[in-house]
Symmetry: C2
């Protein structure tokens, strides 16, 4: 399947802007976390050193939505933002490596994060985008 | 009940930063919209000139969550954000008046919005906060 993220949407994902990530709690209520995100091919990825409510939610119900403010104000004075609906998958992986890559974008080129060097395997949330909305060129 | 928003949280709500508002779709999936918000007492309010999916969702299931980036970066380099879980109520009201008040904050002190002068009654989403989380002094 051709990815649903166009180049502008992909640029918004990797620009170092936080993502507002929504999952569904066991009781059906919405759960929202703010996370760092990157791209791996057409998937949006986030790294997690430990299991978390949002990851348990995704295992039970893979339907997620996330939004990102781009920081751009359009010609009508409206703040642009990207909304992506998709399906999440939680897999074991090099979360520390992903977080370090993202820390260079989100915190600075010389930041060491997570601290230390010998990290256990963590969890990667991989989101396959299914539709895009919002205000912006996507 | 004493409101769950402290002064810092209330300041974040009225600062002219967009809110990422999440409701629950009929199929149980999360729905996310970006909206302007204000305060009315201890409630977070948004104005809507027409009925919308998010409003229909709230009528069926009042559980909502919203997040707001404050634009402040804390001493660890992390972007502050406020997350509010609460219950929404959709009521008829002067949505145009609320939107005009918010437009002065979000768009500028001289902006006329919505355009025109003779607006029909619209809908107000009133959110009663129940808990607060995120990164920031709340």
């Amino acid at each position: 399947m051709t990815g649903v993220l166009n180049d502008a949407a992909k640029a918004a994902v990797v620009a170092g802007r936080v993502a507002h990530l929504v999952t569904v709690n066991a009781d059906g209520s919405p759960q929202l976390s703010v996370v760092w995100v990157g791209l791996d091919g057409d998937q949006i990825v986030s790294g997690h050193m430990a299991d978390r409510l949002k990851l348990r939610n995704v295992r039970r119900d893979p339907r997620v939505v996330l939004s990102i403010e781009t920081g751009v104000v359009n010609e009508h004075g409206l703040a642009e933002y990207l909304v992506v609906r998709g399906r999440g998958d939680v897999v074991p992986g090099d979360a520390a490596g992903l977080l370090q890559r993202l820390a260079h974008i989100y915190l600075g080129p010389n930041v060491v994060f997570p601290p230390g060097t010998d990290h256990p395997e963590g969890l990667i949330l991989r989101i396959t985008p299914e539709s895009v909305s919002g205000v912006g060129p996507w």
